[in-house]
C-alpha cells in the first residue's frame, strides 16, 4: 500500500504527458500510473492465499467483513436526554444502490426496543367495525401478502440544520432514513375482515412498546397502500424495526409507521395524541403550527463525497454519488452542481425507479483539484423541485424542526476534505 502513489496525476496531466512522451493522445490511449517497484501484495505470498479460512457455519448468521467495522449506525448523544428514547443514524456515505441493509437501518425508539415473542403477539382491530377481531401472527401469515420497496424517513431528518450548517456528516444530517423491501398484508384486507362501518373515517394505530405509540391515520390512506409488514429485505423484521409486525405507511413520515403494532381502532375523528400535537407538528414563524403534515417532500443528498467520505484519490476521474426520494412518487431527475449552483448537470439515475422508494444517482467528472461546492436537486414525478434552504425558510421560518427537505451543500477543499456549509 505504501508503494502505491496516493496522489495520482489528473487525467489532463495524463493526456499531456502522453502527448509529449509518445504522442499516444492522438490515438485516444491513456498512459496509466507507473510504480518504482513491484507490489509486495502481489509478489509475496499472503496468508489468505496459503492457509485455510473458516469453514461453513463459522457464523451461522453472517456479518459484514471485519474490515468494514466502521460501517455502523451512530448517534448524536446531545440530541436526546437518554439512549432509550433516542435516535441513531444510517451511514448513508457507506452505502450503494437503493437498499439499506437491515442492520444499518436507523433506529428511533420512544421507550426502547420492545422484546416480543412471535407467538405472544396479538393484533386487535376494534372501534367502528362490525366484528372486533384479534389476530395472531400465524393468522396474519395466512392473508395474501405483497412485496413493496419503500423509504422510511423520520420527519425530523435534517431538522438540526434549519438555523445553519450544524452537523458535519451526511450520516447525521440525512441518516434518519432507510429503504427496504417489505413483505406484508395490505391493511385493507384486515379492515375488510373486521368490516369497517361507513362512519369509520380515521384509524388509530397503536404499538405494544412501553410508550404505547399512537398515531391517527385517515381511512383513505389505510385503504390505499398501507401494509401490515412482517418482513424486511426477506427476513423477519429486526426487533428494533418493530418485530414481529409494523405498519408501513408509504411516503408518509416515519413516526406513523407504528412498530410492534398491537391495535388498530377505527373511529370518526382524529385522536390528536401526543405524537401529532406536541410533536410532529410544524411551528411556523408567526406562532401558528401545521398539523398532519404527513407526506415527505422530495429530497436528495450527495452521499459521496461528503464530510465522512472525502476525496482521497486526488485530481482525476471522480464519482459523485447520492440518493433521492419523494413521498409523492418517483424521482425521474436529479440535477447536480459542483460550483455552488452556477452551472447544473443532469445526474445519471441508476437502479430501480420505484414509487416512494429511494433512487440512486451518479455524476462522473474529472476533478481539477480546486475547491468544489456540491449540491443536488431532486425533481419528483409530480413536477415538484427540491427547494433551497432559503426558499423553505421564507415559508417556514427557523423553528419548524420537521420536514426540512432543502438542498444540502458540501464544500470540498483542495485536499478533498468535505464540510457541511451554507452558501449565499
Amino acid at each position: 500500500m505504501t508503494d502505491t502513489p496516493r496522489q495520482t496525476p489528473s487525467r489532463r496531466q495524463f493526456l499531456a504527458g502522453a502527448a509529449v512522451a509518445t504522442g499516444a493522445a492522438a490515438t485516444g490511449k491513456l498512459v496509466h500510473a507507473q510504480v518504482a517497484g513491484p507490489d509486495p501484495k502481489i509478489t509475496e505470498l499472503q496468508p489468505w492465499m496459503q492457509y485455510l479460512g473458516d469453514g461453513v457455519d463459522a457464523k451461522p448468521y453472517g456479518f459484514p467483513s471485519k474490515h468494514e467495522a466502521n460501517v455502523v449506525r451512530r448517534t448524536v448523544p446531545w440530541l436526546t436526554a437518554d439512549a432509550v428514547s433516542s435516535i441513531n443514524f444510517t451511514p448513508l456515505h457507506e452505502l450503494e444502490g437503493i437498499i439499506t441493509p437491515n442492520g444499518l437501518c436507523f433506529e428511533r425508539h420512544h421507550s426502547g426496543v420492545a422484546d416480543i415473542p412471535w407467538a405472544d403477539h396479538r393484533l386487535m382491530i376494534n372501534g367502528l367495525v362490525d366484528n372486533p377481531m384479534v389476530f395472531t401472527m400465524d393468522d396474519l401469515m395466512r392473508f395474501p401478502r405483497e412485496n413493496r420497496t419503500y423509504f422510511l424517513e423520520c420527519a425530523a431528518n435534517t431538522g438540526m440544520e434549519w438555523r445553519g450548517a450544524q452537523l458535519n456528516g451526511v450520516q447525521f444530517t440525512h441518516g434518519m432514513i432507510h429503504n427496504v423491501v417489505y413483505t406484508g398484508v395490505p391493511l385493507r384486507l384486515l379492515l375488510q375482515e373486521a368490516g369497517v362501518r361507513t362512519t369509520g373515517t380515521w384509524l388509530l394505530a397503536e404499538g405494544a412498546d412501553a410508550s404505547g405509540m399512537t398515531r391517527s391515520i385517515p381511512m383513505e390512506k389505510a385503504l390505499d397502500d398501507c401494509l401490515v409488514a412482517t418482513h424486511m429485505n426477506g427476513e423477519r423484521l429486526r426487533a428494533e424495526q418493530g418485530y414481529p409486525v409494523r405498519l408501513v405507511v408509504p411516503g408518509w413520515e416515519g413516526n406513523m409507521w407504528v412498530k410492534w403494532l398491537r391495535r388498530i381502532e377505527v373511529g370518526d375523528m382524529a385522536w390528536h395524541h401526543r405524537e401529532e400535537t406536541s410533536k410532529y407538528t410544524d411551528l411556523l414563524a408567526n406562532g401558528v403550527a401545521r398539523r398532519f403534515t404527513w407526506e415527505m417532500d422530495a429530497k436528495s443528498v450527495i452521499t459521496n463525497p461528503s464530510p465522512q467520505a472525502p476525496i482521497t484519490h486526488g485530481p482525476g476521474p471522480t464519482v459523485l454519488s447520492g440518493v433521492a426520494w419523494s413521498g409523492r412518487g418517483t424521482i425521474p431527475r436529479v440535477d447536480v452542481t459542483i460550483d455552488g449552483g452556477i452551472t447544473w448537470h443532469q445526474a445519471r439515475m441508476s437502479g430501480p425507479s420505484l414509487d416512494k422508494s429511494m433512487h440512486r444517482f451518479y455524476y462522473e467528472f474529472d476533478w481539477d483539484g480546486r475547491p468544489l461546492l456540491l449540491q443536488s436537486r431532486a425533481h419528483d414525478s409530480t413536477g415538484y423541485v427540491q427547494p433551497t434552504k432559503d426558499q423553505l425558510r421564507v415559508v417556514r421560518g427557523f423553528n419548524s424542526i420537521y420536514h426540512n427537505n432543502s438542498i444540502q451543500t458540501w464544500a470540498v477543499n483542495e485536499a478533498g476534505e468535505a464540510e457541511n456549509v451554507e452558501i449565499g
Partner: protein, 363 residues
Amino acid sequence: MSKSVEMMKKLALCSALVVVGAGHALAETPAPARDGGFGLGRTALPEEIAAWDIDIRPDGLGLPVGSGDVYTGEELYIDNCAACHGDFGEAVGRWPVLAGGRGTLDGEDPHKTIGSYWPYLSTVWDYVHRAMPYGGAQSLSNDDVYAITAYLMYLNDMVDDDFELSNENFLEVAMPNEAAFLMDDRATTELTAFAAEPCMENCRDSVAITARATVLSVTPETEGAAATPAAVVETATAPAPAAAPEPVASAGPDPELVAAGEALFRQCASCHQIGDGANNRTGPMLNNTFGAPVGSHDGFRYSPAFVAARDAGMVWDEASLTAFLQDPRGTIAGNRMAFRGLRSPEEAAAMIAYLRATGGEAP
C-alpha cells in the same frame, strides 16, 4: 450430454424471464380480497378490548370515571415525574419542559409546553396514562392521572390550587393554544411555488460560503471513517502471538465479571454516574455506595420509600443489592427507579463487581 442441454434450456429460460420481468416491473396484481372475508382471526372479547382500548380523544371518548385535585397531583408528580421534568415542569437536562413558554411561539426561541402549545387536554391525560412514568407505563390509577393532569394545569397557570379535575368537568377545559393549529397547507403554499423549471446554466454570478458546520464543532467523532483504510488491510498479515494468561489475583475483582458488569451498566448510565467526577443526575451517583446505608448520598432527593428503608437500617451489601438489582420495585416498594431489574443472580453479581471496582465501595 443431456444434463448440459437441460442446463442450457434453463439458462435460456432464465434470461427470457429477466427480459420479460424488466419490462413489466410495475404491472403487479395486488393481493386479492375475498368476498365475505377470509374467516381468519377471531372475535375480540369485550374484556380484551377494555384492557387495550385505553385511548382518549378531545371529545372525551374513552375518558374513564374518576377525579383528582392539584394537591394530590403535586405529591404524585414529585414522586413520579419531577426526577426528569423538574419540580415545576422546568425539566432536568434534555427531558421535556412541561410548563411555561406562553407568548414565545412566534419568537426566536419558542418553548413548546403543555400550556403554551398543546391543543387538547385529552392528549395530556392519554399520554400520562399510556406512557408515564417513563419505564413504568400504565402504573398510575385513573384518579392518579386526573390528579397529575390537574397539577400540570396548575403549573401552567390554567387553574388555582384548589382545582379538582374529573370526567365531569374535563370537557369544559379549553387549552390556550388550541386555535393556533392549521391543517397541512403545503399544497397551496409550497407545491406550486416549488414546481418551476429551474435554471441550469449561468444561474448566478458568484457564490460565497455563509455558514460552516466545523465552526460549531458539535458532530460526534467518527474515528477512522475514511482516513486510513490501508491500516486495516495491514493488520491482516500477521496473526498476533497468543497472550500469556495473566495470573488471577486472589483479592481483586474478577476482571471478566467487572467487564460483564460494565456492559450491563449501559442500562443504568442514562440515570446514574459512577467513578471520577460522578454527580447525581436523574438517579443518585453511585460512588461510595457498597457498604453504606441505603439512600445516603448528599444532595439527592430520595423517594419516601428510600428514606424509610434508610431509617429502618437497610445497608447496601451483597445480599440487599443482589435482591434490589433483580427486583427494584419489589425490594423497596414505592421507590422511583424506572428499571425493571436485571435478569439473573449472575447479572447482579457482575453489576456488583463493576460497582465495587469503579468507585462504588464505601470507605
